[in-house]
């Protein structure tokens, strides 16, 4: 049982307000990911949970105990740092033993735990080495091992994979996921990489400028982003946005811009209608590249666009088309077998069920 609850959490650095009224409940055994661009306050929030930064106002509870004034050593948490923070003068085994020695565990128990953690991570043969003799991936494993041996209430991860090369990062991501399944310890993970957030998190917190934008399961964020920021941040390549005017034209709700005219489908039309005031309500239309395909005979002209191809990016599994539709730039991810070339003019069809509308002022989803 280790829930972490943040209540009205605020952090000021001098006069800069970096974390603003964060309310969050992290459930027991949950893998919670904080994601957002750099400077969004995610790392500061994590460091407050760790006890490395003082809380300006609000409460942090671990297992229903307010820990605002508890020093890091007494919070029973373990943290994995971006640069691993291995003690350079100690062997791998001593690195892992340090936390247990500080807590005065008996020697045989320390040995036992190190052995078990090393076996889980596959680093038994490295125990005698010094950190400088290890590769990046191995250091990462040792840093994980040092956290595991402690058997803490909560794991904190501060961008642990961002110093690894791309291939190793994918591999370690999978291992982290397996590890969490095996250990079932409440984990809080900070990253700026939305792919990591989507693949690792049971739930994901999207932050921006110190404010929580949305909390939800990965698919929820992907399918129903709460605002334009979340919509643009989650998903790769990013969602396309176009400024449109929505109006009621003979019972149909239509979104229009130069070179673009889309009839909104039932449910979205109903939601748009509640926001409409007068003939031309301005809105931002969003569609993900993967919800666009080259129009075929089955596609209704209501959801089609005339596009001119500007760049073709052949990725093998898909083709990314950078196209121009009227004033707007639209990226489409299409079937890799379609033959397209730069400057081709073609008709693209949108999946109408996957359209998103946002208020241009508040950026909130309709």
């Amino acid at each position: 049982m280790a829930e972490v609850t943040l209540t009205k959490l605020n952090k000021y650095f001098d006069t800069t307000h970096v974390v603003k009224d964060v309310d969050l409940q992290i459930r027991d055994k949950e893998f919670m990911v904080f994601v957002g661009p750099s400077g969004c306050g995610k790392t500061t929030t994590l460091r407050m949970i760790a006890g490395l930064e003082a809380v300006s106002s609000g409460d942090i509870r671990i297992e229903n105990t307010v820990v605002n004034q508890v020093p890091p050593m007494d919070r029973d948490i373990a943290m994995v740092f971006q640069n691993y923070a291995l003690y350079p003068h100690m062997s791998v085994a001593s690195n892992m033993a340090f936390g247990l020695k500080m807590r005065k565990f008996p020697r045989d128990q320390i040995q036992d735990r190190i052995k078990r953690a090393a076996a889980i991570l596959g680093i038994e043969n490295l125990l005698g080495r010094k950190p400088r003799q290890l590769s990046g991936g191995q250091r990462q494993r040792v840093a994980l091992g040092r956290a595991i041996v402690r058997d803490p209430k909560v794991f904190l991860f501060d961008e642990p994979l961002s110093n690894l090369d791309a291939k190793l990062r994918v591999q370690m991501r999978v291992e982290l996921k397996k590890l969490h399944e095996r250990l079932a310890v409440t984990s809080i993970y900070v990253t700026h990489d939305q792919v990591e957030a989507m693949t690792l998190g049971d739930r994901v917190v999207v932050m921006r400028d110190g404010v929580v934008q949305q909390v939800g399961e990965p698919l929820e964020l992907y399918n129903r982003p709460a605002n334009r920021f979340v919509a643009g941040f989650i998903g790769s390549p990013a969602m396309n946005f176009a400024d449109v005017t929505i109006s009621d034209q003979g019972g149909k709700v239509v979104a229009e811009a130069t070179g673009l005219k889309i009839v909104l489908p039932g449910e979205l039309a109903a939601r748009a209608r509640t926001h409409m005031n007068g003939a031309g309500t301005r809105a931002t239309l969003g569609i993900r590249p993967e919800d666009i395909h080259v129009a075929g005979a089955a596609d209704s002209p209501d959801h089609c666009l005339e596009a001119e191809v500007e760049v073709v990016e052949q990725l093998g599994s898909e083709i990314l088309l950078d196209t121009r539709v009227g004033q707007a730039l639209v990226v489409a991810s299409i079937d890799p077998n379609v033959r397209v070339r730069t400057h081709d003019k073609l008709k693209l069809a949108l999946n109408p069920e996957r359209l998103h509308l946002f208020d241009p002022e508040t950026e909130k989803a309709f």
Binding site: L52, P72, M73, N83, A85, P88, F98, G99, M102, P131
Partner: protein
């Protein structure tokens, strides 16, 4: 690396280097030759037929014997060693703690305090000895080793503090934060993690502090008066120059023996020393 033409390497690299080494080592060579040269040869005029300034065919230990039998040289060595080691240890202890505090702890006026400490280092010893002499007299410490052990830190502590502060700042903060999450208090994190990592820096500070105290002249000259309390630097120059008579052979023998401990200390720690001054910590 491609070096270019051979002549270029000689003109810009080898010849300047040889000149530099020659200029640097010649005084030592002169010191060694003089200390082994018999008096007869030493005071031979330059226009004598058998004048031979750069070499001697009859090396002798008479100057060394004189040094140990007719002066308190052995006692001076012991005095200097005791004073240098003790004041270095005191300064290192204070410097490490102060450097850590200035580098890591957030307290009001930390920045200006660091500057003030540095400023005290800039006050010339040739002026500072006047008020210090007053203090030494009031505490009746004159003519005891403690007069130097307690005054050397006035310039050694600022020096050690600044060197250690720079070194501590170069150690990633995460190491300490990680230790504190791992269950160490701030003090334990310092003792078990930061100080062991800073050993090269501490050694460098220690070596330089030791050398500075070993070679210190003006305080030793002012605060010590009886021959048996003197340090090497003061003892040799005051006891072997009598009026206008220079006992060159013994003077040089004393200088040679006096520089041996420093040379040993340097050569012993040279690797750590260089990495302490130039290297940063690799994670």
């Amino acid at each position: 690396m491609i070096e270019g033409a051979v002549w270029r390497k000689w003109v810009f690299y080898n010849i300047p280097l040889i000149l530099f080494v020659f200029v640097l080592l010649f005084p030592f060579y002169w010191m060694i030759i003089t200390s082994f040269r018999p008096d007869g040869e030493l005071y031979r005029p330059w226009n004598a037929v058998n004048y031979q300034p750069f070499w001697t065919n009859k090396p002798t230990l008479e100057h060394f014997v004189y040094l140990f039998e007719e002066t308190d040289f052995g006692q001076w060595m012991i005095n200097t060693m005791f004073i240098a080691v003790t004041s270095t240890l005191i300064s290192l202890f204070c410097g490490v703690l102060a450097g850590y505090a200035l580098a890591r702890l957030n307290f009001p006026f930390a920045g200006s305090l660091g500057t003030v400490i540095f400023v005290t280092y800039l006050v010339p010893q040739t002026l500072l000895f006047i008020p210090l002499a007053e203090i030494i007299r009031n505490f009746h410490l004159g003519d005891t080793p403690w007069s130097l052990i307690l005054t050397y830190p006035t310039f050694l502590i600022p020096f050690c503090t600044w060197l250690m502060m720079g070194y501590f700042k170069a150690i990633p903060k995460e190491l300490e934060e990680c230790a504190r999450i791992d269950g160490a208090s701030r003090f334990k994190a310092m003792v078990y993690i930061i100080v062991p990592i800073a050993v090269p820096g501490i050694l460098s500070a220690g070596i330089i502090a030791f050398t500075l105290s070993w070679n210190e002249f003006i305080y030793a000259l002012v605060f010590l008066s009886s021959p048996e309390e003197k340090t090497v630097a003061v003892g040799v120059t005051s006891e072997l120059i009598r009026g206008d008579v220079f006992f060159w052979g013994s003077l040089m023998a004393g200088a040679l023996l006096g520089s041996v401990p420093v040379a040993i200390v340097y050569s012993f720690f040279v690797e750590h020393y260089v990495s302490g001054l130039t290297g940063s910590v690799k994670g």
